[in-house]
């Protein structure tokens, strides 16, 4: 596997996923509020350097598949008062996702 080509995508649009409930120290682009939550892959965005490495001037390779994942507001905030169909879409790197 050539590092520059990145890691192959593990999920497809429509797959159910869970975000890892992990709390490592460092520059992490997975917001706190979404960790441990369950959603559905909206699309694969492509492969991008891992920001957790890039932030420290390391190459960030191999590139990680990046997805847009759709969550129901009520899944994230149980007390959400708007339309139950309201959603939040978040960009999440593959190494933060696991099959659900």
């Amino acid at each position: 596997m050539a590092a520059a080509e990145g890691i192959s995508p593990q999920f497809r649009t429509g797959d159910r996923v869970a975000v890892r409930a992990a709390y490592p120290i460092g520059h992490v682009r997975t917001p706190y509020y979404i960790r441990g939550k369950h959603g559905v892959i909206e699309r694969l965005c492509g492969a991008y350097g891992n920001p957790e490495e890039l932030a420290y001037a390391r190459p960030g390779l191999p590139k990680q598949p990046l997805y847009r994942v759709r969550f129901l507001q009520r899944e994230i905030w149980p007390a959400y008062e708007g339309n139950p169909a309201d959603t939040v879409d978040v960009e999440i790197f593959q190494h933060w996702l696991q099959p659900d």
Partner: protein, 220 residues
Amino acid sequence: MPHDHDHPHDHDHRHGHDQPHRHPARPDQDDTITQWRAMEIAVRELLIDKGILSAEEVRRQVEEMDNRTPLQGARVVARAWTDPEYKKLLLSDGNAACEALGMEGGPYKLVVVENTEQVHNVIVCTLCSCYPRWLLGLPPDWYKSRNYRSRAINEPRDVLREFGTAVPDQVTVRVHDSTADMRYLVLPKRPAGTEGWAEEKLAALVTRDSMIGVAFAQNP
């Protein structure tokens, strides 16, 4: 003429016009050297000293940044409203759609989300202030505020109401958190009563806020 002092304006001026009316001096806005500012200046001066950048290049880049305005985004939206083929391209490949109008494609992948009768989209960057600057210029201060960044994500309907934007209950509100390498543009709904309008006239209805999703396009 408005002035800066904070005494009430219904006072009488008996103290008078025979003596100078002293207003407290307004503090300069540019005299605070924060840690980050000091670091920026130090790095910039080093880059210039080492010949990696010139002061002129830095100035030109700042000028270029300041010259970008939401007019670019408005052109894209107005074209999508009038040309179904272009709209298809915009929704599938935002960067190519920018280039198709002779504009810069942009340094990030552009995701365009369409407002419809069923869905209203709102953009936020909860982690910082990611924003499609090549289409909209610099982000407004409120977009970078902790208030907007924390509330748009979990009470978007309240935030929209505070912006004067009433999204009906039955319409789905879809918030997009710009957390990584995508940048987002909302394609607002074309206002009623604009049938047959030319692109340039339509573009004037497309405001910055309507492309962030906190407002609708203006009505004619």
